[in-house]
């Protein structure tokens, strides 16, 4: 748990900094607006966390988000009655993509970096092959409500985020979560203890796929339909998870910290905007801060020597 603390400190500092510049941020509406904006990335980070803690990568989530949005727009095409069936279909799609990623990685022993890189090419190629190069159709009002609308004062996306967060925490406390972390730490020891390591990893990829589906649904409503909607999200999600102190290579870190990492990233974007470092240089600052944050975390770890005797 010690490793997860720094990220909450950083997050708190950033939130205070935002509030100082923009007092509106302290009001419920302002803060909820921020969380609403952050929700898709936080959900993606939660999904990515499962994969990373088991020792793998999922680079396909960005293009999966795009695919979800584009597919939704084309299938619904403004027809309100299709909202729910298509929502179900999108979740199934996310699940299937995760299943394929997981199966190829575990059963065919392809490094997940390559599996999901291939999946990224395949997904974005396939969806535009299908739509003829550009997104077509339109989302229904009902569909957009998830990303835009709210239940009373609380945006739907915030509620969905809470549900995802609670589910993720419960999963990590359950046998599945503990055995998944053990798998990421020492696959062989886990297998020889009776853990079904392949199944655990496949499930992790499925969760990541589902998270991408949910994030896609929220983003479709929030940001609208475009071919770029998911661009770069896979890197942002991985960055968020690592910012949360989760170790690439697996076996270490908590899902709450990973989600806090995503909130931190989003807070950073907000802050940069507020201070007028918009657009271009925003990336530069972001790059510096990511390296600095991870370096700070890495240096805090005790110097690791190879164990012997």
């Amino acid at each position: 748990m010690r490793r997860t603390l720094p990220i909450f400190g950083v997050l708190a500092v950033l939130l205070v900094a935002i509030a100082v510049v923009n007092p509106f941020f302290l009001e419920p509406a302002g803060f909820l607006g921020f969380v609403k904006r952050a929700a898709p990335l936080v959900i993606l980070a939660a999904g990515q966390y499962f994969v990373i803690v088991s020792g793998e990568f999922d680079l396909s989530v960005g293009s999966l988000v795009t695919v979800e949005v584009v597919v939704a727009a084309r299938l619904i095409d403004g027809d309100e009655s299709l909202t729910w069936p298509v929502l179900g279909l999108l979740l199934v799609l996310g699940l299937l993509v995760g299943l394929v990623n997981g199966a190829v990685t575990t059963l065919l022993r392809v490094p997940s970096f390559i599996t999901t890189l291939g999946m990224m090419l395949i997904l974005s190629g396939a969806v535009f092959l299908w739509t003829g190069g550009a997104p077509r159709g339109a989302l229904s009002q009902g569909f957009r409500a998830f990303g835009r609308g709210s239940l009373g004062p609380i945006p739907w996306s915030v509620l969905i985020l809470l549900a995802v967060g609670v589910a993720a925490v419960l999963l990590m406390r359950a046998d599945f979560g503990r055995t998944l972390v053990a798998t990421g730490d020492n696959e062989r020891a886990a297998a020889l203890s009776g853990v079904r390591v392949d199944r655990a990893r496949i499930l992790a990829f499925v969760l990541s796929g589902l998270a991408a589906a949910v994030a896609g649904i929220l983003l479709g409503g929030f940001a609208g339909v475009s071919a770029q909607v998911g661009q770069g999200l896979e890197f942002q999600a991985i960055t968020a998870v690592v910012l949360g102190g989760v170790v690439l290579g697996g076996g270490r870190g908590s899902v709450v910290a990973a989600m806090a990492g995503a909130l931190t990233l989003e807070a950073l974007f907000t802050l940069l905007n507020l201070y007028g470092i918009s657009g271009a240089l925003e990336f530069t600052v972001q790059g510096v801060i990511i390296i600095a944050a991870v370096a700070a975390g890495a240096l805090r770890l005790p110097f690791r020597l190879r164990a012997s005797t």
Partner: protein
């Protein structure tokens, strides 16, 4: 080395330790885990810098800031886990970091010839300088390490538990290699838990305890019992717990079991007994355990409980395996004691049975010291790690528990605790099978000993046979 002291994070691990090794001497370094052997070795190797004290080589004081400086000063270390690159050739490994080169260009021929020559000097013909290390056996890899030390013109060679991973007959080869080093006037610092090797090989022995120097004596002037007492500070004359008095029902039975490495295995394990498995390396000892457990399943024969086709089935059928290599196969090192102890239970979805209270009792039962649940297991000593492995299996109370080299790399004190625990588990009705290369342990612990040779059962011996009887069966009649 004189007056060496070292602390880590405020914990004192060595204080005022002195050690002198003469050229051409084999000097044994002994002590329980945590006594400071590894730290002392790493200071000599330049991995750690001492907080105080001095190191002199040939009368000249030296100080090492990096392993390479120690290497250049003539100190070569052969770690338990070899420092070899599996994907590179023997010659490339031997000359790693100091390839013969002119203007940055590696002279391959020179490298390979030099390696070839050193291999020949050691009488090693089973492999050559161009072979990939990945394809060599453990014993051959050890030869590569020794060649590396020789090529460094090392004057001090430190060997850390060199026999830990070797089979009985390979140990003989190692003895020969050590004596060759000795003949060349090299000082050998030999770290081992095994008393027999110390008496076979060493001229003098230094004992460390709790980071302090206890004594240095010529081996000829000390007895086994004395040495043990010096190390643990108490008498361990009662080495092994008493044998089983009564044996219960059959917990596991195999008839005609076989796969590509095992043939016609007939074996019964009964509640309450400890069955020892003897055999040379390659006789199928570990393979037998893996077959019973489902890791490398039997493809033929009958078995009760039903023949497991996977680890999962084996575990579900109530069979547990304490593996030979606990770091690679037994534990998730960066997880807590709790998470490791509950791993099997969780894998089977039976976590509910072990409340926090149950776990604490269990950790006390295996005598984990201290019984802290949130400690990461990588910070535990070998003995304590093995106790966590035991706890891991005890959470699901298997009917049969298989032990593969349960006390390898474990100090004398923890060894006794593990032996005691095995006996108590048997007394509580568990059927236990134990593989061990250490004959005294095998003979001391087993209620009967099944001997394997070339994947077949070649005989069963009653309690307390002589070492000779076991060896004769294991090696086959032909050995003169």
């Amino acid at each position: 080395m004189t007056g060496i002291g070292k602390s880590f994070l405020g914990v004192r691990v060595l204080s005022d330790v002195g050690l002198t090794v003469a050229a051409g001497e084999v000097h044994a370094l002994m002590g329980e885990n945590g006594a400071g052997k590894s730290t002392l070795m790493k200071i000599l190797a330049g991995v750690h810098a001492p907080d105080e004290g001095t190191i002199e080589i040939d009368g000249r004081p030296v100080s090492f800031g990096h392993p390479i400086q120690a290497q250049r000063a003539g100190v070569a270390i052969i770690y338990q886990e070899f420092n070899l690159l599996p994907e590179r050739s023997v010659a490339e490994n031997v000359f790693l970091g100091r390839e013969p080169a002119r203007a940055g260009l590696v002279d391959r021929t020179a490298m390979e010839t030099a390696t070839e020559r050193l291999l020949a000097e050691l009488g090693e013909e089973s492999f050559g300088p161009r072979d990939l290390v990945r394809r060599l056996s453990i014993a051959q890899q050890q030869v590569v390490e020794i060649v590396k030390a020789l090529s460094l013109d090392a004057r001090i060679v430190v060997m850390d538990e060199p026999t830990a991973a070797l089979a009985e007959h390979e140990v003989e080869l190692l003895y020969r290699l050590v004596r060759r080093l000795q003949e060349r006037g090299i000082a050998v610092l030999y770290i081992s838990h095994r008393l027999r090797e110390v008496f076979d090989l060493a001229d003098r022995v230094t004992v460390l305890k709790d980071g302090k120097h206890v004594t240095t004596v010529p081996v000829s002037e000390v007895s086994t019992d004395e040495l043990v007492r010096l190390m643990v500070g108490r008498d361990l004359s009662a080495y092994y717990p008493p044998r089983a008095t009564s044996v219960g029902e059959v917990r596991l039975r195999v008839t005609g079991g076989g796969n590509d490495k095992l043939h016609d295995i007939d074996l019964e394990l009964r509640a309450g007994e400890i069955v020892g498995i003897a055999g040379l390396q390659g006789s199928g000892r570990s393979e037998l355990a893996k077959a019973l457990f489902g890791a490398e399943p039997f493809t033929r024969g009958e078995m009760t409980p039903r023949r497991p086709r996977s680890v999962r089935e084996g575990v579900a059928a109530g069979i547990g395996l304490v593996t030979e290599d606990r770091k690679a196969e037994g534990l998730a090192l960066r997880q807590s004691v709790r998470d490791n102890a509950l791993l099997v239970a969780r894998a089977l979805g039976r976590q509910g049975r072990q409340g926090p209270q149950g776990l604490r009792e269990l950790l006390e039962r295996v005598r984990l010291t201290p019984p802290r649940e949130d400690q990461e297991v990588r910070y535990l000593s070998g003995g304590n790690q093995q106790k966590v492995v035991l706890a891991k299996w005890m959470t699901v109370a298997p009917a049969v528990l298989l032990f593969d080299e349960p006390t390898r790399g474990v100090d004398v004190g923890a060894k006794a605790a593990i032996h005691d625990l095995m006996r108590r588990l048997a007394a509580d009705g568990m059927a236990i099978m134990m593989i061990s290369s250490e004959l005294p342990e095998l003979i001391g612990m087993s209620d009967r000993i099944v001997v394997l040779r070339d994947g077949r059962v070649v005989g069963t011996l009653p309690p307390a046979p002589t070492e000779e009887a076991v060896m004769r069966l294991a090696a086959g009649e032909v050995t003169s």
